[in-house]
């Protein structure tokens, strides 16, 4: 499949890296020659230098024979114009565009039909939604959704004195009082796919699968959640803060936004009726304290500066804020981040490249290929979602009779609207969504790969 990426910025480059790794032909367009140069040396892509909204440049990039165009320049208008122009040159082209202005975001439905846009993405909005999901269930370090939102895989940590410490996994369902499955345990940098006799220890990171409807019960019974989040402090008044404040406001969580720029504060105050807007610089040590950091249930750092976000988050953690979330745009090395008390990390560009990747996979839909791939726990473990098709082997045979590869775990089977955590008697049927958890080196690319 041929893909054109217009704009070799943060999102563009991340996409180029992941799409080439999955074997797609990628052409990049950008106005900055030096950025393209760097892209071509780092990834297996071809580059076209020029304005991506111009017919000549698009032709140069081979728009007539391409299947997908991803407009990821920093400018909404350019993205729209590019997709309109490309659509005029090639009617079969799918187009994905980044539209981040909230005012445009309202009429995306019209854009779809008029401008040939098949998908619109807004990194800031996505980041805000992700943060809101994390806030709704404090205690989860990471939360990934599968099977159209019916199955969840969450990452949680066993802190000191937790009642699960010392318990064997086989005793878990009785302790939690609902069906959950621990699909992987990370202990001291090592990934273990556990068996029933595995004993949990303090400091373990658990990857747990559960049907979405059991999530809150599980949280309660795991006794991870101490109390519900009622107020959140947002540092930085950018677009993410605006979207997040809107979402939190709807779910009845009190929002306080701290922003340095007074004009932006005015603007936010006009846009957000109920949120409390504070104009000030968080670098002044006393500001956070005087604005009531001690009484906040959550601290979310969303400024443009990664370094500042990390600093403020570390400060908040040390103050004992129950939930800290850090937005990072550039910093990638999660091994370094792990050693810092910055709470949950949200990276807008990772999020949106993930959702685009999902679209590309669905569009390409190679027989049996994964629909969704989440890499969990810094890429040590991969959870992939597959659709059971006619070509899947061993259908309607109980799982206990099928030999699978070592360390590969069938984490959930979603049939229709119900999700089950599979046991030995479960089986696959055509149309099932199956989530498989395996170490990343196992190389599970299609469902049939799991069979030994």
């Amino acid at each position: 499949m041929k893909i054109i990426i217009a704009g070799a910025g943060k999102v563009g480059e991340t996409l180029a890296e992941q799409l080439t790794a999955e074997g797609y032909d990628v052409t990049m367009i950008d106005l900055r020659a030096e950025v393209l140069e760097a892209c071509v040396s780092a990834h297996d892509v071809i580059a076209v230098h020029g304005n991506c909204a111009a017919v000549a440049t698009l032709r140069d990039a081979g728009v007539e024979s391409s299947d997908l165009l991803i407009c990821a320049t920093g400018n909404d208008e350019v993205n729209l114009l590019t997709s309109v122009t490309a659509h005029a040159l090639n009617k079969h082209l799918h187009a994905i565009a980044r539209i981040r202005d909230p005012e445009y975001a309202e009429n995306t439905i019209h854009m779809r039909s008029h401008f040939g846009l098949s998908m619109v993405f807004n990194p800031e909005k996505q980041a805000a939604e992700e943060i809101a999901r994390l806030i709704r269930f404090p205690g989860f370090l990471q939360r990934d959704t599968f099977a159209k939102g019916r199955t969840e895989i969450v990452l949680l940590r066993l802190d000191e004195g937790h009642h699960l410490c010392g318990a064997a996994l086989s005793a878990l369902p009785t302790l939690v009082k609902c069906k959950v499955l621990v699909c992987a345990v990370l202990r001291g940098g090592e990934t273990i796919i556990p068996t029933g006799s595995f004993v949990l220890k303090q400091g373990d990171l658990l990857l747990v699968t559960a049907p979405t409807e059991n999530l809150s019960r599980m949280l309660k019974n795991l006794r991870i959640v101490k109390h519900k989040t009622k107020s959140a402090m947002l540092v930085g008044g950018g677009r993410i803060s605006y979207y997040l404040a809107e979402i939190l406001d709807k779910s009845g969580i009190g929002v306080k936004i701290i922003e340095k720029d007074s004009d932006r504060c005015e603007q936010l105050a006009e846009l957000l009726a109920r949120a409390e807007i504070v104009c000030g610089d968080v670098r002044h040590r006393t500001l956070l304290e005087s604005e009531g950091l001690r009484d906040s249930d959550a601290l979310i750092t969303l400024t443009d500066l990664d370094e500042l976000n990390m600093l403020v988050s570390i400060y908040g953690s040390n103050w004992g804020v129950p939930q800290v979330i850090t937005k990072l745009s550039e910093v990638e090395d999660s091994k370094i981040l792990d050693s810092l008390p910055v709470g949950n990390v949200v990276s807008p560009r990772r999020l949106c490249s993930r959702s685009i990747l999902r679209y590309v996979r669905a569009m390409d839909h190679k027989a049996g290929a994964a629909i969704t791939v989440h890499s969990l726990a810094e890429g040590a473990v991969v959870a992939s979602e597959f659709l059971v098709t006619e070509e899947t082997l061993h259908r309607s045979k109980p799982l206990k009779e099928i030999r699978t590869k070592r360390n590969v775990l069938v984490a959930s089977i979603t049939r229709g609207v119900t999700t089950v955590i599979p046991d030995g008697s479960s089986h696959f049927e055509v149309g099932d969504f199956v989530v498989v958890v395996a170490p990343s080196e196992a190389g599970i690319n299609e469902l049939n790969d799991i069979f030994a």
Binding site: T20, D25, V40, S41, D44
Partner: protein, 483 residues
């Protein structure tokens, strides 16, 4: 430096080389040349063994690979390939001195075609085939060949760009399609198809073995003959066909890709291609007029002029006549053609038409700048502005080129041959042509030079084929320093 990744590539190259030698081994066995067969057999075993061990040791290499690694890797792998490729000549006793054997195979892989053998016809068929085949592989590049066949870098092949840049000729190397592997495949496919067509045309009027060797020599623009008098003894038909195909292999291969995409207009408008054919046309005309009196008919003069011009500008080095006997003007024209060379992205050597074009254009621009110092001017090729980095890179290339030619000229002058011999020998080796003038002319050979001069010329050939920087990078201390 990512030594593991480099080791993996070296291992692959040695294994590939061992496979390349199979036809020669079969030839030697069928001809019952046991000594030669032994030479090939031992070398193949050695290559496979060392290559296999390297591959085994360098499993799981990381793929962080940058421009520096690309340069060093290409330079080293060519040297490695040549050192092993020379072994069959040496062990098989066709060329008793190892320095001579290395000279010969470097001349083969770099598609130079300069020989130290005074009597080529006495060599075994296996050796002749290996010489010709080395041209064919060396023409397009071994690493490009590997890239087309093996997933060199596993999943992330972005780094292979550095290898393509370092191995392929031309000031601005780019891909044809997004995937490096497919780019390499397209290049090799065009190459193979053209070679086969050339072979089919030749086999009408030539024995099969001769046709194979000649088409390999033509395709790689190498020029190792299998007869002492190169192509003089063959029919005018064979000479004309070879002449035309040499010119075709001197064309930028991306032009053929554009033709495949039916973009004929784009090819016809290509400035480099026009420049190339312009020079060929002009040179043929001038030389024909200049040598008219030496030959019986105008047609014969034209044929010889065309063949020699085509052979020299594409840096092949076949000959149908001893052009050393031609008048000075013709020889001067040939010497200039030697320096200009073929198009970028072809199998030919030399400075390349694209660079010559850029240099002329920037020269004209600089004259303009002297008159109007404030003027802002952009150099355009094919109506597109050329990046100033490429222009300055071309200047630097010219500087390095002149410097190396002068130093080599100085070094081989110790042997006390005539000045014309020495200068033309250096130019012929550096530009990967083969025959020069006087002692090293089309009928002569490089056998008379001392071992020291042969080593200098060997390095020149490698530097010329890899466009200087991969070889220079090996000599820079920074390439080997940690960090």
């Amino acid at each position: 430096m990512n030594y593991k990744m480099m080791g993996r590539l070296f291992g692959l190259i040695l294994c590939a080389e061992s496979v390349f030698m199979i036809p020669s081994l079969i030839l030697a066995l069928t001809d019952a040349e046991m000594r030669v067969a032994l030479g090939f057999g031992i070398t193949m075993g050695l290559c496979a063994l060392i290559g296999g061990v390297l591959l085994l040791l360098c499993r799981g290499a990381k793929t962080d690979f940058y421009a520096k690694e690309g340069l060093v890797c290409v330079g080293l792998s060519w040297i490695l390939m040549c050192l092993f490729g020379a072994l069959p000549f040496f062990i098989g006793d066709d060329i008793p001195s190892y320095v001579d054997a290395v000279f010969e195979i470097v001349s083969g892989f770099t598609t130079t075609g300069a020989s130290i053998c005074t009597n080529v016809e006495a060599l075994s068929r296996a050796t002749l085939y290996w010489r010709a085949f080395s041209h064919w592989v060396g023409g397009m590049g071994v690493l490009v060949f590997l890239m087309a066949l093996v997933p060199v870098g596993g999943k992330s092949e972005g780094f292979t760009m550095h290898l393509l840049r370092a191995e392929s000729p031309g000031p601005d190397v780019g891909k044809l399609v997004p995937r490096m592997r497919y780019t390499a495949m397209i290049l090799y496919l065009v190459y193979v198809v053209l070679t086969v067509i050339c072979f089919i045309f030749l086999v009408f009027d030539m024995p099969v073995f001769d046709a194979i060797c000649t088409s390999f020599g033509t395709a790689g623009t190498g020029g190792f003959g299998i007869k002492n008098d190169s192509l003089t003894g063959y029919s005018p038909y064979v000479q004309t066909v070879t002449g035309i195909f040499m010119l075709l292999f001197g064309v930028n291969f991306s032009c053929y890709y554009l033709l495949l995409l039916r973009n004929v207009l784009g090819v016809l408008r290509d400035e480099e291609l026009r420049f190339y054919f312009g020079i060929v046309g002009g040179a043929v005309l001038l030389i024909t007029l200049n040598i008219r009196t030496l030959y019986a008919t105008f047609g014969e003069a034209l044929r010889h002029a065309f063949f020699q011009v085509s052979s020299i500008i594409t840096t092949t080095g076949f000959a149908t006549t001893d052009f050393d006997l031609w008048p000075s003007l013709s020889k001067a024209i040939l010497l200039i053609l030697m320096v200009v060379g073929a198009c970028a992205g072809s199998t030919g050597g030399g400075l390349k038409c694209a660079r010559a074009l850029l240099l002329i254009k920037s020269f004209i621009r600089n004259i303009g700048r002297v008159q109007n110092p404030q003027k802002v001017a952009v150099i355009r090729v094919n109506k597109k502005p050329v990046d100033e980095k490429i222009v300055s890179g071309t200047m630097a290339y010219l500087c390095a080129y002149v410097l190396i030619v002068l130093v080599s000229f100085l070094l081989i002058s110790i042997d006390n041959f005539s000045t014309v011999t020495n200068l033309s020998a250096v130019i012929a080796c550096f530009n990967n042509i083969g025959p020069g003038l006087e002692t090293v002319g089309p009928t002569g050979s490089y056998a008379g030079f001392s071992d020291f001069s042969k080593i200098v010329l060997t390095i020149d050939m490698l530097a010329g084929r890899l466009e200087i920087f991969p070889i220079l990078a090996l000599f820079s201390r920074k390439a080997w320093k940690r960090g």
